[in-house]
């Protein structure tokens, strides 16, 4: 045993004698994780979060969250002698005087953007594959909270340097708070310590940004990962994969190495981007002054859609009972995001409620196999995209020389009309894909080869599906919609919940309607026989063709040393181009 092994063993024994950790290690070191590129999205979120934490600690050593006004004396010439808050002053100091300070600022901002982006994309992957279904609804709920917290964390950090752009963002946030009925002015005054902008807000935000939100996120991420660990990761269907197993690589060593390596890759890429691509150059914006504004400045991407909603909502401020109802701000800025969040929270329960079974799901859906869900997801994305476009309506109007008024009208219409259209189109596409899958299962894969039979008939030869594809298509679950409830039970007693049950059953019917039912075993068997027949018919032809000496690449000559017949060339080619999942049979 080497010295290092001895040391490690000694440590393991020490901990084990006090905690019983070896039993835990035995059980967990070879925990199996399935492999799929989309499962890395959650990892990207986790790793960029770690980068955010590391760089955030560094920045907190230099940044001063202080709104006291000072005169700039630093090396950045264009701002010399300008009055600014000490917060902005210290952000300039980090950018221009601290060696590597600008790099850390950029890494922090880029990793924060990647973090929020990865969280949202991860959320959609979980949504579209149905990974939120039983038993993972709790983790979905934790996830939605995480998504909201990361957005708040992003916004609070963006506002700290007290530059002109983020200050304008804060002014808008304050205006939004004022619009809340009854308590709006109180909410704003308590947060800002009085009137806007005051001198308290940056230091309050600082506590929220570096302590409260990261603490909540860290705690929730921990629970999130413990649940993923305990419940084991879902997997896509494939040969040998069932609802009762996990197929993949063991934690030690493959998954550990891949995940650990992936962390460094992500970290490295973020640093390289931060070295080369400038983000948030606060010195060109200047310090925040409440009577100045930079035209054409944009919020970070995750806040854009709310800004777009503010732009599109028509002026609907009115007075009633002696009070002012600022609905043109309250609805787009608070009610709509609130409704979006609530829909995200309750979706898994809604979907569970409109189907009959109560099973655990560990095999992921392909998006096409749940057309209504996929349609709803695409609808949400369309809604987001239209509003995000609306947040750039001034730039678009200038860029394409359009009238801004007309553009806003078009965008208002698009916000209402496009999402439902996206829903319908997506559902349609899903259903046709399902139909094609069914076709493949019963008739095999079209090869494009036409065969003329001795009696003159032409047929297209179908080939059997490979095991991978077959397993994927066969994994589809035909969900049963809720049955139509009976108004009276057998003894004629009226069902008191009849109306409610009928509503649910209708919704359920709408959700699962147009399901393309999976073929029965009998149909599949029948199809298999049919395919085998065709292959048999084609066989003599294939044999002749396999003997022909024509270069596989179409050339008529072959090079010395190259295999002679088509078949040999093909086999050589397959050997040279191994497909990771190819079925050698």
């Amino acid at each position: 045993m080497s010295k290092a092994e001895e040391l490690g063993g000694g440590l393991a024994t020490f901990v084990d004698e006090r905690t019983g950790s070896n039993a835990w290690m035995r059980k967990n070191l070879n925990k199996v994780f399935p492999d799929h590129w989309s499962f890395m999205l959650g990892e990207v979120a986790l790793y960029s979060f770690i980068v955010v934490l590391i760089t955030g600690v560094y920045l907190s050593l230099f940044f001063r969250p202080d709104m006291t006004e000072v005169i700039y004396q630093g090396p950045y010439v264009p701002l010399k002698g300008v009055q600014m808050s000490d917060a902005f002053n210290s952000a300039l100091e980090i950018s221009f005087e601290v060696r590597g300070g600008l790099l850390m600022r950029q890494i922090h901002h880029w990793s924060a953007l990647l973090f929020i982006g990865a969280v949202v994309v991860h959320m959609f992957r979980v949504f579209f594959t149905g990974a939120f279904r039983k038993p993972r609804e709790m983790n979905w709920t934790i996830g939605v909270t995480l998504a909201l917290m990361t957005i708040f964390a992003g916004f609070s950090g963006y506002s700290l340097p007290d530059d002109l752009v983020s200050g304008t963002g804060l002014r808008i946030a304050e205006g939004i708070m004022l619009s809340i009925p009854v308590v709006g002015t109180w909410a704003s005054f308590l947060l800002f310590g009085g009137e806007f902008p005051g001198t308290d807000f940056i230091s309050r935000l600082y506590g929220i940004h570096i302590l409260l939100l990261p603490g909540i996120i860290l705690a929730l991420v921990t629970v999130h990962l413990i649940l993923v660990w305990h419940q084991k990761h879902t997997q896509f269907a494939g040969p040998g994969r069932t609802n009762k197993n996990v197929v993949g690589y063991p934690l030690m060593p493959v998954y550990m190495a891949k995940a650990g390596g992936f962390f460094f890759l992500i970290f490295g890429v973020i640093v390289l981007i931060s070295a080369l691509v400038q983000i948030n150059p606060i010195w060109t914006f200047g310090p925040y002054v409440p009577d100045q504004v930079g035209a054409g400045t944009q919020p970070d991407w995750y806040a854009g859609w709310m800004d777009g909603a503010l732009r599109l909502f028509p002026p609907t401020e009115f007075r009633l009972f002696g009070y002012t109802w600022v609905m043109n701000i309250f609805i787009p800025a608070l009610i709509i995001p609130g409704l979006v969040s609530i829909s995200a929270y309750i979706y898994p329960w809604l979907e569970a409620k409109v189907k009959k079974d109560d099973r655990e799901h560990h095999i992921l859906d392909r998006p096409r196999d749940a057309p209504t869900r996929t349609g709803l997801g695409v609808m949400a994305i369309t809604f987001y995209v239209v509003l995000a476009i609306a947040a750039g309506n001034d730039l678009i109007a200038i860029g394409f020389d359009l009238s801004i008024n007309e553009l806003i009208w078009w965008l208002r219409i698009a916000t209402i009309v496009l999402p439902p259209i996206a829903f319908l189109v997506t559902r349609r596409i899903c259903l046709s894909l399902q139909r094609r899958d069914r076709e493949k299962l019963t008739h095999g894969r079209e090869t494009g080869r036409i065969l003329r039979l001795p009696h003159g008939e032409f047929i297209e030869v179908h080939a059997p599906l490979n095991a991978d594809e077959r397993a994927k298509i066969e994994a589809k679950v035909d969900v049963e919609a809720l049955p139509e409830p009976a108004e009276n039970d057998e003894s004629g007693v009226r069902n008191p919940d009849f109306k409610k049950e009928r509503r649910w059953s209708k919704l359920s019917g709408w959700f699962w309607r147009n399901n393309i039912e999976k073929p029965t075993d009998h149909e599949i068997e029948h199809g298999d026989e049919h395919i085998a027949e065709q292959v048999e018919l084609e066989k003599p032809l294939r044999e002749i063709e396999d003997k022909v000496v024509i270069g596989h690449d179409g050339s008529t000559l072959h090079h010395p040393g190259q295999p002679e017949t088509n078949k040999e060339q093909y086999e050589q080619w397959v050997k040279d181009h191994p497909h990771p999942k190819s079925d050698p049979s």
Binding site: P135, L178, W186, G240, P253, F264, P290, S582
Partner: protein
């Protein structure tokens, strides 16, 4: 599922299945062998590649040290497409980035080329507890409830709930002083009613602080102004609050171009002053189109017709921009007649004044 896939499963796995109940069997379906599985030379080459990457990572750390020590934050470099950026910033970023990236690249290469790539199968079990466990848990719980006398003494239950409901209040009440209310101010809404404009106060330019004469503003022109007292107020208050409410724009049009005014005798010879703070959510506005007399907010494109009482003609804002009544003093400088007659800035619950576009 031919034989050659199963023969690739290392013999070790089969042995350890017996020895270690937690090692899982290989999946019947395996990826094809890699070159590094088939040739020892390829495997050695891959190992060399991994080692090179780890070594290079160390080299980049050394280079980082050099850039940190011998370059200065004021160095700049010109990079095509990206423009001029700080030279030390780029050098530190590239060296640190490469040092980190190479560890990742080396590790992933190692995992992909050399580590076992046998997919294994671990069984899953439903999470639901057995009926015995559920029953047992219920019994333990019920015994506990019984032993606590929780059910026997409802008065304890009720008073405890009562106390628990109240006990967060001290903390919540304490939050009230997040805003240290100045003496004499009843509530936030009272503070939002006024600005520091007072009768007779001169309008001064926002950048230079110079007072403005009426004749200095040409027809079609726009000047950004603040109250003369602003600097002194900011000095004593130590914040920018006064500025966030008092900022105005002053424009001049031919008197016959004016269709209507909020305060008919608040303008002077076609010179009108309006709040600069958008009534939507508070952005400062100064995009003025003199031809149409329209003021456009850069934030959400609310548009106000300044020749017609600054009413909203387009966009999401719900109220007109309040007018500041002005006149000129003996020396010909523009002065305010009084404060605004209604609150400026974003609307709120108790705001008074004209509402609606």
């Amino acid at each position: 599922m031919s034989d050659d896939t199963t023969t690739r499963v290392p013999a070790k796995t089969d042995d350890s299945v017996v020895k270690n109940p937690y090692s899982w069997p290989a999946n019947e379906h395996q990826p094809p062998p890699r070159t590094t599985d088939l040739s020892e030379r390829a495997a050695k080459r891959a190992a060399r590649q991994v080692a090179t990457m780890f070594l290079l990572s160390g080299v980049f750390v050394a280079l980082f040290f050099v850039a940190f020590t011998y370059m200065s934050p004021t160095d700049t470099v010109e990079i095509p497409y990206l423009g001029e950026i700080g030279g030390q910033h780029v050098a530190l970023g590239l060296t640190f980035g490469m040092a980190v990236f190479l560890i990742g690249a080396g590790t992933v290469h190692w995992a992909k080329k050399l580590m076992s790539n046998v997919e294994v199968v671990q069984p899953r079990h439903d999470f639901k507890s057995t009926p015995e466990d559920t029953q047992g848990a219920l019994e333990v719980f019920e015994e506990g409830v019984e032993a606590s006398t929780w059910k026997k003494h409802p008065v304890i239950r009720r008073t405890l709930l009562f106390a628990m409901a109240l006990v967060p209040l001290p903390f919540i009440i304490s939050l009230r002083d997040l805003w240290l209310t100045p003496p004499g101010v009843p509530n936030p809404d009272a503070m939002l009613q006024y600005t520091i404009w007072t009768k007779g106060q001169r309008l001064v330019r926002d950048i230079t602080g110079e007072p403005v004469r009426a004749e200095e503003i040409p027809v079609g022109g726009l000047v950004n102004c603040n109250p003369e007292d602003l600097e002194a107020v900011e000095e004593t208050e130590g914040n920018l609050n006064a500025r966030a409410k008092a900022a105005i724009i002053v424009i001049r049009m031919e008197p016959d171009e004016i269709q209507s005014l909020q305060i008919p005798d608040g303008a002077w010879n076609g010179i009108i002053a309006f709040s600069k703070i958008c009534t939507h959510v508070g952005c400062p506005i100064s995009l003025y189109q003199q031809r149409t007399h329209e003021l456009l907010c850069p934030c959400h494109q609310s548009t106000f017709d300044l020749s017609d009482s600054a009413n909203v003609v387009f966009g999401p804002a719900g109220r007109h921009m309040p007018q500041l009544p002005i006149t000129v003093d003996d020396e010909g400088y523009l002065i305010a007649q009084s404060d605004f007659l209604e609150p400026v800035g974003p609307s709120f619950w108790t705001i008074t004044g004209e509402v609606g576009p």
